[in-house]
Point group: C2
Chain length 592, copies 2
């Protein structure tokens, strides 16, 4: 299977569509010149290509198994993880105080996409560790930080997030896991957690579980949840993991995909209570969890992009080799890439992938502005823009991950349905991404109910004005090959503006806004994706790379003329669809 | 897992959306009164629910295995197949001369959907037998018919279609399997065929392979292909299968889904040549294959619909049970069916399923008009309408099969990704249907290049005029609850008319038409599906069943206001998208 990490292309998107070049102009990223950035990511790309990618099919075939509480991961998994951590890749984002490199989020995001390109199931493990590192950096006591962060940052230990219980998925208010104060400053944790990614394995010397649970005197609902650090192995006095804590893996799930990643049922406290330490304040655990949500959601959006990238490369290579049917200008059987219908599929794959990537990277750059901008107003505005973009990045990145992987299967025809080819694995692996880390429905609700109202709607209006500016630049520059792109983008921005205004109208009910959330998110993503591709095309036209300029123009044009055309229909679904989702008639249609 | 065959609803669609009631008015279906039709299908529904459906998960888990040339099917598969055949279900469509019942295609289509609702992997076996029966009825000699048809019609023997070879998938001109004249009227067959569904198994006493191969003096390309009947076991003088023919199953595929159905590599002639008999004339084998294509494609479209139906029932039941989050008017945690976003998914599932079903059934009724109409002009016109609708039925039915099954996974959230729930199996099983029996790309090309030009475009114009009439009826009747349905349908028909006119314009190049084929098919399907749902709603409003009337109105309205809204964008993809699929820029974008 052919796969190459498209690092140069990723960097081009980061610089010209996501705004890294502009941010440099504002004085950001000063410590990271272009060559260094490129060198780091080329190195990451080599690791993804040479070390991780070869594990992907093996991981799928072998999967994980559980025996006597021990989970074995696929062949090569543990050794490669250790090699990856030893090379320092786990330390990119963490603070320098605990051994991190404190690098920009953009670097971490692109590296993170690269690990997922290699293997999403593999890359999940450090993704969760990173989330725990962030939560501890922000909320843990100095003592907890000193004890746990250095080895979590280095990757010698890994971490998990324990939120879900059988009755509590999207609705954490329903969770039942309990914590009791032990009297010595520690806590005893009891309860069952499900769907715990990398909850148990033997790739690292210890596993740090971050567990949401309720104290006895906790208020009901989400305001009564606390966050605890519960290690698999308790440390001895030298800080070495030694004694088993009262937590066991009671089962692993048989899943549609990501077989290399163990999804565990974790049982806490069957032997008197697992020892845990409070992170942050009592009853404020959910706020701690929200800390890391932006990066985690962005990384999951990039899993979708990464799988789309793999599926696209895979299908494209096949389409150049496989010969079926006749085509103009080809003698004998033509490679199927010559057939318009196959081209439509492949261009959809390329364009969707590039558009979603642009949105994700844009969110990463805004997160960096929020972290590093010297102007607190600008930092706050950037944080809000990032917050606005992240549900779009997560949902659109993962939705197109599935769509592109499914098109990949279709390009392969019958051979795509046979597991041996590998096309089906991309689809199976992708299908979890719209579900975990907040379902895409939850992302759409977040966008409409929490992110649009930021700063009285000013944040959203500002971002949309930026998309309009891209359409205007395209109309003015009018470089060869963009076809109707400027016009289609302008129309899509019209649709987005109207839908946004409709959602923000004072008479709008909560139910109406929620009804339109999913098509609204898609509409926003298409407009933002279209703008991103146009920016790439405009930037490429100014370079000496004629081939890249042609390619970027073709992708921007295809997206605009074939996918942005959905914008007006989506606007109607938002503004007129609510009535069709409620009422007596609908109850009849949804009766069982 | 809850599943009930929705027979009454299927019959309602058949009568009021697909035109069976109207056809009765024309004198068709005279021998099949409503009670008889209903009784037959209720019986089929019971068999599907009670006997076939319980095998579906078992079939997926156990799959098939090959040892020493013998293929074992999952537990219960063979006994249930024999019981099914003994009950006479295989005989519905076949001619009476060979033990068939010669019933209308509509009856067979609905029954066929029911078997697929029970289990697509199970229902595939008789689907292929039926195809062979049709090919033999039309093209085989009297002697071949007398020898082979009775037991194929009864289902005591099953059949396969052997088209694909490693280098010849959609492009049969490339096939290499050879046939030699043996001098005694029989032929010797040599070669390898892949992806042969039910190519080997022990559910029946014999397997009749219909094999495409080339004679030594055959012209190149598709005009040099002949069709042969090659049994697994040759018959002795009493007509009993006895001696092994020179054909073996050399491998079975490990697939994404339909695990209960063995997908075989068949090797012919390794020991001197498999004995075969010519079906039809030499070099005219492809024409024979085309005979059965309409019914087979329709049945595959209905596999998509059937899986969509199963996934919808499954998700709907879960959405009523699963409680997460708060909703207006519900105390405590609300069933997730109360959340607008989940309602949107469920209504999309219901509406897409019902729309695709209406199109498939309409095609079946037109096939019956073509078979049974006393007026040869009307029979010809009906045949052309059926030919026009069938690529739409196949492609849209199977595309929405995948889309709906994927939404089903999403409704289940994390539990949808775990195989135990069964939601993922529907998606895995559905994913083959857009590929086999002519990929959906091939269907779109067929629609645009062969079906639209029928009778100088008159057939398409007539069908589209019928959709316009549905919009007008909705606008006039204006029953409660249809919202903007009439207007949206009218606009969709506008879009379809414009796109059709664009495709038919004399200056249109082949490349332009092919470039727009896939969005055009989708546009046609949406308009036809929207019209079908509106007709159902109008008909239901005239009955005494207030609940059904409400439900049908809600579904028609939802479809129109949320899914038909894509029509204008699809029109643009057809009429303006071609330029973005070709040229130097696109070559750069698709380079590897």
């Amino acid at each position: 299977m052919t796969y190459r990490a498209p690092v140069a292309d990723m960097l081009f998107t980061l610089e010209h569509a996501a705004g890294l070049a502009a941010a440099r102009g504002e004085g950001l990223y000063a410590e990271l010149d272009r060559d260094t950035l490129s060198a780091i990511l080329e190195e990451a790309g080599s690791f993804a290509t040479e070390k991780i990618a070869p594990l992907n099919a093996v991981g799928d075939r072998q999967g994980c198994s559980l025996a006597e509480g021990r989970v074995s991961t696929p062949e090569g998994w543990a050794a490669t993880y250790k090699e990856w951590a030893a090379a320092g890749w786990n330390t990119i984002l963490a603070e320098e105080a605990h051994g991190g490199q404190g690098m920009p989020t953009a670097v971490w995001a692109l590296a993170s996409e690269l690990w997922s390109q290699g293997s999403v199931a593999f890359g999940l493990c450090p993704l969760l560790t990173q989330g725990a590192v962030e939560a501890l950096e922000r909320h843990a006591s100095q003592e907890l930080k000193a004890t746990w962060l250095p080895k979590l940052v280095s990757g010698e230990w890994t971490a998990t997030m324990n939120l879900t219980e059988p009755q509590a998925g999207s609705d954490l208010a329903l969770l039942k896991a309990r914590a009791e104060r032990a009297g010595d400053g520690t806590y005893r944790i009891f309860g069952q957690k499900i769907f715990i990614t990398y909850g148990e394995h033997e790739m690292a010397d210890d596993i740090v579980h971050l567990v949401l649970a309720r104290l006895p005197d906790a208020p009901e609902g989400t305001r009564g949840i606390s966050l605890f650090l519960v290690p698999k192995l308790l440390l001895d006095e030298s800080g070495t993991p030694s004694k088993r804590n009262d937590v066991v893996c009671a089962g692993i799930e048989e899943k549609l995909g990501i077989h290399g990643s163990p999804t565990c049922t974790m049982v806490y406290g069957d032997k008197g209570g697992a020892t845990g330490w409070l992170v942050g304040e009592e009853h404020r655990g959910l706020a701690c969890m929200f800390t890391m949500m932006n990066n985690a959601r962005l990384a999951v959006g990039l899993q979708g992009v990464a799988l789309a990238e793999r599926a696209t490369q895979h299908a494209l290579a096949f389409a150049h080799e496989r010969r079926q049917g006749r085509a103009e200008g080809v003698s004998g059987a033509a490679p199927i890439v010559a057939h318009p219908d196959v081209r439509r599929m492949l261009l959809t794959m390329r364009a969707m992938t590039a558009a979603a990537r642009g949105i994700c990277y844009r969110a990463a750059v805004e997160l960096d502005r929020a972290r590093f901008s010297a102007d607190p107003n600008e930092a706050k505005a950037a944080q809000e823009r990032a917050s606005l973009l992240i549900p779009i990045a997560k949902a659109f990145g993962t939705d197109i991950g599935c769509e592109v992987a499914s098109l990949g299967v279709q390009v392969f025809g019958g051979m795509g349905y046979v597991e041996e080819t590998g096309a089906a694995q991309f689809l199976r692996d992708a299908r979890i991404t719209p579900i975990y880390e907040g379902t895409n429905g939850v992302q759409a609700i977040d966008l409409v109910t929490r992110k649009l109202p930021q700063s009285g709607g000013e944040t959203a209006r500002g971002v949309i004005a930026g998309l309009r500016a891209s359409a205007s630049r395209a109309a003015e520059a009018h470089p060869q090959g963009l076809g109707h792109a400027a016009r289609r983008l302008d129309e899509a921005v019209d649709a987005l503006e109207s839908a946004t205004a409709w959602l923000a109208a004072p008479e709008r009910t909560q139910a109406e806004a929620l009804a339109g959330a999913t098509p609204y998110l898609r509409l926003f993503a298409l407009a933002a994706g279209g703008a991103s591709l146009v920016e790439e095309a405009l930037a490429a036209a100014k370079t000496n790379d004629a081939e890249a300029a042609r390619s970027k123009a073709a992708i921007a044009r295809f997206f605009a003329e074939n996918l942005l055309t959905a914008a007006a229909g989506l606007e109607l679904s938002v503004t007129e669809g609510a009535g069709s989702l409620a009422g007596e008639d609908v109850e009849a249609a949804l009766a069982v």
